[in-house]
């Protein structure tokens, strides 16, 4: 989709701010998810201790990631599955396409998978003549619109039901034109019927994984709809497209993570369906896939290990940071132009595509710290964004005017006598300029502020000047 790049952040953000309907929809995110998460946390007194447990589990796993990857692989193979390592996005795409071809796949159903979006899987398979059917209701809507998700948990939060009805009339062309699609229930019922045919016809089912369990070689998906389950159960081949940092050691560790995931994401105690898949159908299984494949993507994650952004690998993609971020709340997910928006996207996207292609993301933050406060994995998101700013600065990237202004400021701030002399001259001048009104409507070089806000006038003399005078008087 055009404009969908982190490099067009400023333009995207401006458009988002002017989009009245999006603004209304974003209020839903704020009031809905924030309130619900708070309630869920209040109902579970152990919540904060579980966060500590979860952080420790992830830290331990990352410190032993090579060994857990090997242990996980052994178990998958033991249960009759296959593991494919994919260093790059292109590798992962190629592996999935090859597996689909080996399965003679004409139709592939898909559960929601951020990793599959990261690697651009759908387009790759479609170009090869495979019909790819997104089955998560939100993703289905995006697919027929040719749109991108605006939130990692609630992908069509930016749309209203009238728009979706238009899309259904257009895309579900085989259905009677005179039918009603007035209510949300109507839309859901229609999607259920349309997608049911695809579920049953699919040759391959592709899902992501919220977690991978090394102890048993299992992949875990969480959904409320049950689409992930129909995707991983009905077709003859199940492909899990996931990434190396999703591993947790044991079933007990998975339980700890699961207690935090749904509560942090939507405020639910648990999602309706939490499903553990371990290998293909066994002897005597009357249903289930005959082949089970796991594609383990790296795509820059091993570069983050042990480095400045190591802690970002703890992320469990719950979306709590997005829900609580005032910047995300003002502009929505599309503005970030990345598969991963919001605070977690501001840290992860530059790691995946390079800071030079995504510099606005870690810069567009007021560092309010709410993200870190609600992150179930205690990821220090503002500090990590600041690290990107340091890299950005060291590369000489912030605009010249900004660097010049900052340079002048820092030069003076390091020289107190000069600073106080300059300030002592400048501030009374500004105060006089503002006059009795006590504020400035415009001022050279301050258009960024004064376009939308007045600038309160300084009182006149600086504190240090006054203090010196008054101390002299004592």
């Amino acid at each position: 989709m055009s404009g969908a790049s982190p490099e067009s952040f400023k333009g995207n953000a401006a458009r988002a701010l002017a989009d009245a309907q999006l603004q209304r929809a974003l209020l839903n995110v704020k009031s809905g998810f924030i309130v619900k998460r708070a309630k869920a946390r209040a109902k579970l007194p152990e919540f904060d201790r579980l966060r500590d447990d979860a952080r420790a589990i992830k830290d331990h796993t990352l410190a032993h990631l090579d060994l857990y990857l090997e242990a996980y692989e052994r178990k998958v193979v033991e249960s009759g599955g296959h593991v494919h390592f994919a260093p790059s996005a292109a590798d992962a795409r190629d592996i999935v396409l090859r597996l689909c071809r080996e399965a003679n796949a004409r139709i592939a159903t898909k559960g929601k998978s951020m990793v599959s979006e990261e690697i651009g899987l759908d387009a790759h398979l479609e170009a090869a003549g495979i019909e790819v059917v997104e089955t998560d209701l939100g993703e289905h809507i995006l697919q027929i619109r040719g749109d991108r998700p605006s939130h990692i948990i609630a992908p069509v939060i930016h749309l209203n039901k009238e728009e979706i009805a238009e899309d259904f009339f257009r895309a579900h062309a085989a259905l009677p034109r005179g039918r009603t699609l007035d209510t949300v229930q109507d839309l859901v019922s229609e999607a259920r019927a349309v997608l049911r045919e695809k579920f049953l016809a699919a040759d391959v089912g592709i899902t992501g994984a919220n977690f991978l369990v090394a102890e048993t070689g299992s992949s875990i998906i969480v959904t409320n709809e049950g689409n992930g389950d129909l995707t991983e159960t009905l077709p003859a081949t199940h492909i899990v497209v996931t990434s190396i940092e999703k591993i947790v050691p044991t079933l007990e560790d998975a339980c700890t993570m699961l207690r935090l995931l749904a509560r942090s994401a939507t405020g639910q105690e648990i999602t309706t369906y939490t499903s553990f898949a371990t290998g293909p159908a066994r002897d005597g299984d009357p249903d289930g896939p005959r082949a089970y494949h796991v594609v383990l993507l790296d795509n820059g994650r091993s570069d983050m290990l042990g480095g400045d952004f190591h802690e970002m690998l703890r992320c469990i993609r719950c979306g709590a940071c997005l829900n609580h971020c005032p910047v995300y709340g003002a502009i929505g997910g599309h503005a970030y132009g990345s598969v991963y928006p919001g605070p977690m996207g501001a840290v992860l996207t530059p790691a995946l595509v390079g800071i030079d292609h995504a510099r606005d993301l870690p810069n567009a933050s007021s560092f309010c710290g709410r993200c870190e406060e609600v992150c179930p994995m205690a990821i220090p998101l503002p500090a990590l964004m600041r690290k990107w700013r340091e890299r950005d600065f060291d590369r000489g990237d912030p605009p010249l005017t900004q660097r010049a202004a900052l340079g002048i400021w820092a030069f003076a701030a390091r020289r107190p006598r000069l600073y106080h002399a300059l300030a002592g001259t400048l501030m009374p001048l500004l105060a006089r300029l503002a006059g009795p009104k006590g504020r400035l409507r415009t001022l050279p070089f301050t258009a960024a502020w004064t376009a939308t806000r007045d600038l309160p006038a300084p009182e006149g003399q600086t504190f240090h000047a006054l203090y010196r005078q008054r101390s002299g008087e004592r």
Binding site: F367, W409, R414, A448, R453, L455, E459
Partner: protein
């Protein structure tokens, strides 16, 4: 009732970290802070060698300038018993970020740690260190309080200002919705991403107006300049003041960004 301790050698020596915004825009906040600290029994000095805590450089990724400024602050303030700032964000910078910034500097690492341990935001210091329970002030108005982000999340400043405000005679404190949501200032963020910052402060102003308050208070001048700038552009009569001004009973001057009274 204030605790007026005798100004003896036993009174703690506080170095006032003025903050650049107070110094440049609203010195009366600094003088209000001094009054509050002295009324509570501290001796206050103001080292002239201070300019800024270095956040503008630090948050822009300019570590070298941030470190240089940090060293300057450590040198200027380490002789005091306590360092107090009328700002959660500046106090947070000294308390939480200086030790990390200077961790690799053998000449300053432990000194930064020591300074961090004795640096406080003003209202927290009054309540939690000096044990102030009430102030001797009068301000008859409905007031609401904005929780500035750094103070709230880095330093857990939440109850201290409210406790002191409740002792102000005539004052009614009404909480607005979303007191804890960012006002959009974020230092340079407010000018680097002005449209987004504007959207955020519009949200904050909506909540302030809805609360019915005649005056909004906060512990950080950055937030207050931003909020006042928006209220002023909207033509609102709602006043903005730093919480220190009200607690010190020094509210005779114009509120932030408001007209000087005639005569």
């Amino acid at each position: 009732m204030t605790k007026k301790a005798a100004r003896t050698q036993a009174a703690p020596l506080v170095g006032l970290f003025v903050t650049c915004l107070v110094d440049l825009f609203r010195p009366s906040v600094g003088f209000a802070a001094i009054k509050l600290l002295e009324d509570a029994g501290a001796r206050v000095e103001v080292p002239q060698s201070q300019t800024c805590c270095g956040q503008p450089a630090y948050n822009s990724g300019d570590k070298e300038d941030a470190k240089a400024i940090a060293r300057q602050v450590v040198e200027s303030f380490e002789r005091f018993d306590y360092v107090v700032a009328p700002s959660g964000s500046c106090a947070g910078m000294l308390r939480l970020h200086y030790p990390q910034l200077l961790a690799d500097d053998p000449a300053f690492a432990s000194r930064a740690q020591a300074l961090a341990g004795k640096t406080f935001e003003l209202t927290s210091f009054l309540v939690e260190v000096l044990g102030v329970e009430a102030v001797d002030a009068h301000y008859a108005a409905p007031v609401t309080y904005h929780d500035a982000c750094s103070g709230l999340r880095e330093l857990k400043v939440k109850d201290a200002p409210r406790r002191l405000l409740r002792s102000v005679e005539g004052l009614t404190l009404t909480e607005m919705e979303e007191t804890e949501i960012c006002c959009g200032f974020g230092g340079t963020f407010s000018v680097k991403y002005p449209d987004i910052a504007n959207a955020m402060v519009e949200g904050k102003v909506r909540n302030i107006v809805k609360s019915g308050a005649a005056c909004v208070l906060a512990g950080d001048l950055g937030c207050l300049l931003h909020i006042a700038g928006k209220l002023s552009r909207d033509g609102s009569a709602i006043q903005c003041r730093h919480v220190a001004e009200v607690l010190a009973g020094m509210t005779g001057n114009p509120a932030i960004g408001q007209a000087r009274k005639a005569g």
